[in-house]
Amino acid sequence: MSHDNVAFHREHMLPEAPPPVTETGVIKWLRENLFSSVANGLLTVVTAYVVISIVVAAAPWFFNGIWDSPSLTACREMLDGRTGACFAVLTERWNQLLFGFKYPDELYWRPTLAFVLLFAAIAPVLFIKFLPRILLIFTGLYPFIAYWLIWGGSIMVPIMALLGVLFGVLVYRRTLTVSAGVAVLAGIAGAMVFWWAAGFLTGSTAGFMALEPVASRDMGGFMINLMLGVVCVSLSLPFGIALALGRQSNMPIIKWICVIFIEFIRGVPLITLLFVANVVLAYFLPPGTNFDLILRVIIMITMFASAYIAEVIRGGLAALPRGQYEAADSLGLDYAQSMQFIILPQALKISIPGIVNVAVGLFKDTTLVSVISMFDIVGMIRGPILASAEWNGVYWELFGFAALLFFITCYGISQYSQWLERQLQTDHR
């Protein structure tokens, strides 16, 4: 037999053919994701129609927007019947939206600087694995720097506050050998005594390295939301941890104090607590005393957030297998050590999504202070700006701007927490 008998045989390989049109590139993606079945195709068309009509309707509003005009009526004259936004309200009142209407405008750099430094201060905490630990010193100093920048006054006040904290820590260290609980109490008492004594000193050096002081009631705008959000979230974390541990404690008095506190605060709406801070306290304090309103609100929101965070962390503690507690005990660790090294690192990791949820919710809840006549960003919009003869009737632009600011902040927090969860992922998956 020879080759002649074979009708055809291939001498070489066919070149690689491109995949069919429907199985590659854009078309494949479209088929798989948008038009995989008749029903899905229909839904895609309907959704596309809705999205396109929204964009078509909103685009002229954005692109015809007037950025420079003295009032809403002037805006409407310039638009001359066309659809268009009046963003001029933002360019004219941006400072009021961000800083409130009474913060002196030549001092805007101070809260702005404090805001920029905030990132430098929280970065070592947020990215603790990637940045040298020494930077945490700046984080510790930041609250005092920020206070001095925002409120002004003599630098001696924050310095003495800082020294008081350091003194308290020193007392804590010295008494730690007795017992952890005693050490904490002694540390707090030490700091209190130091502050009381320092009060005499700061009184006499009021003018030393003083920035122009700004009263709390002169602050407003998004600045207040950020201040309340940052301060209350960072304060409520340690309080929340303490409450969660207290609730699981074997000591009945501590346990019941924590249970009652958590259940009571959780059972009361935040707005009620704010009214108590603003209105009811005014009856109990002697007339003429000026207990700082922002401080009152910070205390109330922190209490509220602590109760919620305590419950989130309790969930994390409950999720740990009993064996972890027993393992810590079997190693001979005392309570403080077992919590610090074994229990809390695991429980907190489990609690991250819950904590972030509370933090984001809390940050948005800070707009509630507008009902107790504080001019946060929503208070500024609803009060002074919409009540001015020039801008009465501008809604979408202002509330859209506020929504944008909140979205940026909350989305940032949420993205960070997802990144952190991936970083800490050590599960057996």
């Binding site: 002697p286 007339p287 009902v371 107790i372 006549s373 001019f375 609803r382 009465n392 009737g393």
Partner: protein, 339 residues
Amino acid sequence: MKKTVFLGALTVAGLVGGAAAAATLDDVKARGTLNCGVTTGLVGFAAPDANGVWEGFDVAVCRAVAAAVLGDPTSVEFVPTTGKTRFTALASGEVDMLARNTTWTFSRDTDLKFEFVGVNYYDGQGFMVPKALGVTSAKELDGATVCIQTGTTTELNLADFFRKNNISYEPVPIETNAEGQQQYLAGACDAYTTDASGLAATRAAFENPGDHVILPEIVSKEPLGPLVRHGDNEWGDIVRWTLNALISAEELGVTSANVDEMASAPTNSPEINRLLGTEGNLGEMIGLDADWAKRAIAVGGNYGELFEKNIGENTPIGLARGLNAQWTDGGILYSPPFR
């Protein structure tokens, strides 16, 4: 020793605090500023401008009192209050007076223990409808949907009015004026009802104010005025007569332009002389100096000037004087004589 001193200081502070609460005038003078409660913002009545300076019709009353008492219309600490916090702010002593378009009612005057010192604006509840609806009287609103702020006296007034006229309506509950504005423009209701001054301000903010009419019926009495706490009648007198001085000044023809000239030497009108302190000792009687009323009038002018500047017909709000004209011009503004 330190502790005793500290406790002693506390006691003294407490005593001073207690005494100061009784004599608001001394308190204000010692402090150097007048704490005046205002709204968090209401077009024409009180709102800070782009520079953060408070302006408006209610604000003008605060400034007049500050000028009369302290001699400086700018030494006022404006304390913004919401409808919910205003009365506690006054009762707790956080503010010395409230000029916050508050309706004078029986229960507020007696049960809440406040003293309304007068009326600076006579308001009343009205209705606004689109012109296209073709309605000329509120009595033709049978079967209409009406946007109404919940929990206010306007809600009760509305029910009373419709029941009295034996016609029906369907309420559309809303929370704030801003929401009402949106709902009404979106056509969720045929008519919008609130205080007439509020309706005028709302309409002024519309893109086409001419397409909407405010119906002539006023269905309630809403006398708005400044108020002080019970228990310090001398202070109440000062606020009352400062307001009366502004009203009398218009009646007597004293304006911000001519007040200096009229006060420099006695004129031939005895009442002007008594008002401006060139004759008699009225200032002494309320614990102030002779020039008090002159300073109050010099701030922004008399009642009529303040009205025109803040809410009058040449402003975007465009309110007519109506009931708020002098009694000599057919209104009901009537200041007791300065004698």
